[in-house]
């Protein structure tokens, strides 16, 4: 109460003082600004405003001190960078990106065979697993998608024209026999099966033709450019015997694989059918076998080695392969 009265008195005294000091002059404000001013009513207002500003300044200083210590306002360590994405490349070749892989799957049936009932769903199911496996292994550095050609492709010849008796060594003969026909009918504009939407390839995609064959065969490979003219040179480049190298051309595809339909439906084989599918697909992006074809000796337990006959849920891509694809840093 006493303070209230005091403050009230001060207020009235201030008003009276302002009235009587209209003629006063002073040459320095109490903040040290050197200036000649006439202490009019307006000056008194300014004088009060400056006083309030002083208070605000003091509060500001205190506020700044407090905020400095306030955790989280000023980050004590730099904010870290983002997640590395889309940096996967072809095995041991960083010039070829496999960040976006697109599998264009076709089911081909020799003229003398019948399409397998429910082939589309079986194929889609297997490709779904393979896709999940790929995306898990590459951790976002590469993503895999697939398209399935809607109808079975009925080949112009009987199976004997395309089959090879040798499949255990990734014989290219099935594809060599198939490639010309598939290219002509599927990828060329005047082909009877030509479908622009299916054969179209975006610039940043790595396209792989996946052939599911109603016959014998399981192999996969990248398709290298034509300037590597001789089969011998191609074989040298790939590190494979000359007998398993061949020259083909299939539209704008960067790689291919062939898998017998049996791997997805045979009661014994189907448990690791998707594993074989991915194994062959993995060849198309440059991965090599991690086992000796003749002795069966494994160099790794992953999908390219000892794990190639495990269910796809229980296998993996070994670290050396991921390192050579730019997914994992070499240390």
């Amino acid at each position: 109460m006493l303070y209230f009265r005091e403050l009230t008195n001060l207020f009235y005294r201030g008003i009276i003082q302002i009235y009587y000091t209209q003629q006063l002059r002073f040459d320095k404000l109490h903040f040290g600004f050197r200036m000649i001013v006439r202490e009019s009513f307006a000056m008194n207002i300014i004088y009060r405003i400056l006083e309030v500003l002083l208070i605000i300044l003091l509060l500001g200083v205190i506020g700044a001190v407090i905020l400095y210590f306030y955790p989280g306002i000023f980050a004590k360590t730099p904010i870290s960078g983002g997640t590395p994405q889309n940096r996967a490349h072809f095995y041991q070749n960083s010039a070829i990106s496999i960040s976006n892989v697109l599998v264009k799957a076709v089911y081909v049936v020799p003229k003398n065979r019948e399409p397998y009932s429910g082939w589309h769903d079986i194929l889609a199911k297997a490709l779904d697993k393979v896709q999940r496996f790929h995306n898990l292994q590459f951790r976002g550095a590469s993503t895999m998608n697939y398209e399935i050609f809607g109808e079975p492709i009925i080949l112009l010849e009987n199976n004997l024209k395309y089959d090879s008796g040798e499949t255990t060594s990734s014989s290219p003969y099935v594809l060599l026999n198939l490639s010309g026909e598939l290219n002509r009918r599927l990828f060329e504009k005047d082909g009877d099966l030509y479908n622009q939407a299916f054969v179209k390839k975006n610039g940043n995609e790595y396209a792989v033709l996946g052939v599911f064959y109603e016959g014998i065969g399981a192999l996969g490979s990248p398709i290298h450019s034509r300037d590597q003219e001789s089969i011998k040179k191609i074989a040298e480049q790939l590190g494979v015997p000359e007998s398993v190298a061949g020259s083909i051309y299939i539209g704008p595809m960067d790689g291919f694989f062939i898998l017998s339909r049996e791997y997805l439906t045979n009661p014994i084989l189907k448990s690791y059918g998707p594993t074989v599918l991915y194994h062959e697909f993995a060849h198309a992006i440059g991965f090599k076998d991690q086992y000796d074809r003749i002795s069966g000796r494994s160099f790794s337990d992953d999908i390219m080695g000892g794990g190639r006959e495990n269910p796809i849920e229980a296998t993996y891509l070994g670290k050396p392969l991921l390192q050579e694809s730019g997914v994992v840093e070499k240390k």
Binding site: E6, L7, L10, T21, Q23, L24, R25, F26, D27, K28, H30, E51, L54, L58, L59, V61, I62, V65, I66, F69, Y70, P71, G72, A75, K76, T77, P78, I79, S80, G81, G82, T83, P84, K129, L136, Q137, R139, G140, A141, D292, G296, R297, S298, F299, D301, D302, G305, G306, E309, I312, E313, A314, Y316, L317, G318, K319, L322, V327, V328, E329
Partner: protein
């Protein structure tokens, strides 16, 4: 008051008190905040470290337990192997004891699998294809007779490691090897169950920065974290423990977090705890806000009290200053009233004693002047009378030369009489004995009488009076004789201070309830400084132009006293070389 001053005492005191109070307040507030923050950091670090220690222990125990499960000793000599049935028995017991073990196998010393059993085959026996593992990293490591833990590999069934251990006989020689594929789902479960507040997350990464287990959403686990947060440094072997190890950054989930991490060198894995600051600092923010509120409140109070104290301290000084101003105006009858109970009150008492003494001195002076003037008046009146008689020749013939001298004596005597009269008037005024008989008066009459009286004097200097009282001029409350005195002084001054011919114009105006009379001349005028002292006692303008003008310097003082006695006011406006206008107001008679 023409005081030039620099900084008001009130403001000085305010600033000083404010500084003296606010600086410790800032220091105390800052220290308090720093302490709260430090304690909070330690508490968060302690919480995160405890969780990390617990989880790293769990991880170690889990792996060690798995290896211990498949570790057996044998009495077999080198070169001998278990029969297949025994191998199958052991493999079955491993898989049964350790459900996370997806498969197990025996390998001979050449790296060939001799038996293999899968978890799925426990219920439904299935012949497994045996592998040649002689070219694998696992077998290379096992040849050194040591346990082997592979890098984590990620399957659709979950993250897994290959564990293997030599089958050692009593001589410490390996006779075979046992390996198994261990699913880390159990670890995932344990990490997922971890709690760091309500929103904190914990994750286990492998040497490449891939998430093995985490308690955040499934999708985020696919992200490669090797270049995010503190993972890259952690995987180089650096722990982030304790308050110093604690880091704050924006996590890969986009949240500001406070993080700690621990490296597991034997597996090259890392466990990271990240706690969103929104929750981790919630209590800290509350404390800081309270601290802030108290600090600001105290600060505000300090500022208000500073202002109050400054005013309380300054108030008696201002009272003293007002007292001195009154003293400078010759007013000694208003003592200051200071009740502070300190030296300033003593100063006030001394000041009051001083003005009491001054008042007494003034009264003595006034009395002396009054008595002296009164006593002088009789002899100077007698001198005037006798000199008149001498000039009239009553005392005999007076020569022209003698008349000339006597006239000079009479003029000097007249000035002396005027001085004595003025002194008496001043003395009366100051003694409060100045008398006026106020009545309703037509002011034009005394003015015209004075103009008539002074006309000869004006004619001598060719000065023309201009006065035409307007019809219906209101009467004023005034003493007619005193009005004459005022007009004699003002018109007389107008004549005296006009050099050569000129005019003296008298006019009236009504303003509010007063009649203002202006006496405007075309005289020499005066400066602003001179105008300010015009109504002071004995003040006379001294310059080249006024050297021959005679006067006592009391006329305008007396005029002011008379005007004010009649409840009027008097003021002057003048410009050097252009003349002056004296104005006085008198209340209009109702």
């Amino acid at each position: 008051m023409n005081t030039h001053f620099q900084v008001k005492l009130r403001n000085k005191i305010f600033v000083l008190i404010a500084i003296v109070s606010i600086i410790p307040l800032i220091i105390a507030g800052s220290l308090s905040i720093w302490s709260i923050q430090t304690v909070h950091r330690l508490e968060v670090a302690n919480l995160e470290d405890t969780l990390l220690n617990q989880k790293t222990d769990e991880v170690r125990r889990f792996i060690e337990n798995a290896i211990d499960t498949i570790r057996i000793q044998t009495t077999l000599e080198e070169g001998n192997v278990f029969p297949l049935s025994v191998q199958q028995f052991f493999l079955k017991s491993f898989l049964t004891a350790l459900p996370g073990l997806e498969e197990a196998a025996f390998l001979n010393l050449d790296g060939q699998e001799t038996s293999r059993l899968k978890q799925s085959s426990l219920a439904e026996p299935n012949e497994e294809k045996l592998r040649d593992e002689s070219g694998t990293e696992k077998f290379s490591a096992l040849k050194g007779i040591q346990d082997y833990i592979s890098p984590v590999y990620f399957t659709l069934n979950g993250p897994m490691v290959t564990i293997a251990t030599p089958l050692v006989n009593k001589k410490g020689k390996a006779v075979a090897f046992i390996s198994g594929e261990l699913n880390l789902k159990e670890l995932q479960k344990r990490i997922k169950e971890s709690r760091l507040g309500a929103t904190g997350y914990l994750y286990l990464v492998n040497e490449d920065g891939f998430v093995i287990a985490a308690n955040f959403q499934e999708e985020a686990r696919l992200i490669n974290l090797s270049e995010t947060g503190i993972v890259s440094e952690l995987l180089k072997g650096k722990d982030f423990l304790g308050a110093d190890g604690q880091r704050r950054y924006r996590s890969f989930l986009g949240e500001e977090v406070v993080a700690a991490a621990q490296f597991l060198p034997e597996f090259k894995w890392g466990v990271i705890a990240e706690w969103p600051t929104k929750e981790a600092d919630a209590i800290l923010n509350t404390l800081l806000q309270r601290n802030l509120a108290v600090t600001f409140s105290v600060l505000l109070a300090v500022i208000l009290v500073s202002i109050l104290l400054a005013n309380i301290i300054v108030r008696p000084i201002k009272a003293l200053e007002a007292g001195t101003r009154l003293v400078s105006q010759g007013k000694f009858d208003q003592p200051v009233n200071i009740k502070t109970g300190d030296e300033i009150e003593e100063l006030g008492i001394a000041f009051n004693k001083m003005i009491a003494g001054l008042k007494q001195l003034q009264q003595l002076k006034d009395e002396f002047v009054f008595i002296a003037a009164h006593e002088l008046r009789t002899p100077v009146a007698a001198i005037k009378g006798y000199l008149s008689l001498v000039l009239e020749g009553i005392a005999g013939p007076v020569s022209d030369a003698v008349k000339k001298f006597i006239n000079k004596v009479m003029n000097a005597n007249a000035r002396l009489i005027r001085l004595v009269d003025d002194l008496l008037e001043v003395a009366r005024s100051e003694a409060g004995r100045l008398t006026v008989e106020v009545r309703s008066t037509d002011i034009a009459l005394p003015i015209q009488a004075v103009l008539t009286e002074l006309k000869p004097l004006a004619d001598e200097k060719s000065i023309e009076f201009m006065y035409s009282p307007p019809f219906g001029l209101p009467k004023v409350l005034a003493d007619e004789n005193r009005v004459k005195e005022i007009m004699v002084n003002l018109v007389g001054n107008a004549i005296k201070y006009t050099v050569g011919a000129g005019t003296v114009t008298i006019s009236h105006e009504v303003w509010d309830n007063a009649l203002i009379t202006h006496i405007k001349d075309t005289g020499i005028g005066m400066s602003k400084e001179e105008q300010k002292k015009l109504f002071e006692k004995f003040y006379r303008i001294q310059n080249e132009k006024t050297r021959d003008v005679t006067g006592t310097g009391l006329g305008l003082f007396i005029v002011k006293q008379i005007v004010e006695k009649m409840n009027g006011k008097i003021w002057c406006e003048s410009e050097e070389g252009k003349g002056s206008t004296f104005s006085f107001s008198l209340p209009i008679a109702v």
